[in-house]
Each structure stands twice: as C-alpha cells, then as structure tokens.
Symmetry: C2
Amino acid sequence: MTVHETFLKIAFDEAFEGMRNRSGGPFGAVVVCNGEVIGKSANRVLATHDPTAHAEISAIRQACEATGHYHLPGATLYTTCEPCPMCLGAIYWSGISEVYYALTREDAERMGFSDNHIYQEVTRDPDNRNIPFIQLSSPAAEQLISEWNRNPDRELY
Amino acid sequence: MTVHETFLKIAFDEAFEGMRNRSGGPFGAVVVCNGEVIGKSANRVLATHDPTAHAEISAIRQACEATGHYHLPGATLYTTCEPCPMCLGAIYWSGISEVYYALTREDAERMGFSDNHIYQEVTRDPDNRNIPFIQLSSPAAEQLISEWNRNPDRELY
C-alpha cells in the first residue's frame, strides 16, 4: 500500500465502525501531519445530536485540540467521501494543505445524503435559495466594521 | 423595534462582546424557536483554537444540545454577517427554516476575512482549487455504499 492508501484505509475503518455502531452516516476522516495521525473520526451526527459533527469537522477539531492551534498548515486530510460545502469551508478555515477523498458528492446522494443539493444551493443568490436568506439593515453594522478595522491588534484567522 | 430587529440586536451584542474580549472575529449569531432564544454565540475561533467555532456553528450546536436533536425545524437564525459556506452547510444540515443577516461576504472581506474567497472556491472543480482535492480509488468504497444501502434501519439526517 502507498502512504495515501494506508491513511485512506484508516478513514474507511472509521466509517465502517461508525456506521455499524450507529454513531452516524457512513463517513470517516483522518488528519495527518508529518506522517502522524493527529485527528480521526467517523461521522458522529447521530451519537452527539450535532448536525455539524461530520467526520471531517470532528477530525479537524480533534487535530486543533492536539496542536492547540486553529491552523493546520502542512496537514493532509483523508476522507472517505468528497467533503460537503460545510466541511470544505472548515478545510479552508483550518488552512489544511491538501485533501484526498474516495467517494463523490454523487455517491453521497446515492446513499440518501444532500451534499450535492447543498453544493447547488451555495452557488445561488442568498434570496433565491430553498432556505430563505434575508438581509436586514442594522445601525450597528458599520460601527462593528469600523471598530474591528481600527484595532491594530486584531487577529485574523 | 420589530421582532427581527430585536433578535438581530442580540446577535450584534454577541459580536461586540466577543470582539472586545478577543474570543474571535466580530461575528454573532442567535437561533430562535417559538419566539425563544435556544442558542447564541459570538465567534469563538481564538478562544477555543477551533477553526469551526464560527458564531453560527456554535449557536446551532448549542440549540441542538438544548433540544437534544440534530434537526431544528421551524427555527430561525439571526446572524450579524452572511454565513460563510461552512455555516451555510451547517444551516442546511440542521434544517433551519430561515436566516436573517446584516453584513455581506464583501463586508467580511473588508474586515480581512476569506468568506468571499471560499464562496469562489466551493464552485470550482475539486481538482482546480487553491487547496488540491485529489480523488483516490479504494476497494472499500463500493462495499461501504452497499452495506449502508442494504441496512433497512439506516437513519438519514
């Protein structure tokens, strides 16, 4: 087995175990840094009643807990299925360097999951989605921006 | 103040407090169900070293903990800024019914955040993104799909 196949297999092991013990859907993910696994998880949506507890999000949170930092530069994510838009966002925010995956959003759809649908929704204008996204004006909006931008010690992540 | 303005103000109060005590970026969110706040949070990325601890994700997780369920039908999310793709995904997975927001992805960009960039990346083909997304084949892939689809008790979320 190549190094990539070895780590992808760990992600599949997580997926099979999580599916069989009903912790969540059939998905698993592993975060690797310097050849070492620093986070791994199955999908845990059912076990935790947390809709954000996808395998990738859970593995990233675990890796950040291990490193004590919200950025994971140089880390690689292995996941059994192409990340959904939520997990893709988490990958960008965490600064992971590359992603390897096996199944696709269409495979997820064949298993009954809405990854593909959410990929379509995210490209739509906010006021033209299945879930209405409605903009309101607020007197606090500009104040928040200027207070943030005026602070020389602000930390971007 | 209208009901919407009242709940949006609570989200802004969270954002100002979180920004001032450096728990994270200038963002706040509130989940409301039956006229009652069941989750609220500022962005907590810096305080928790967790890149997924955006205000919306944190408020949704809190609301699901309060209700004991991963779905929040009939709930409304109020957020100071248009949700990023990660938080948009979480909104869809949680089944929230509608979203009200004030600032936009372009405003987030003016504050130094990459929401707008991630919105562009999510529409690209996986092999044509800033972060490489590389598909691997795996002998376990089809087995996982068929074992999931054969189980009559599988729970979709």
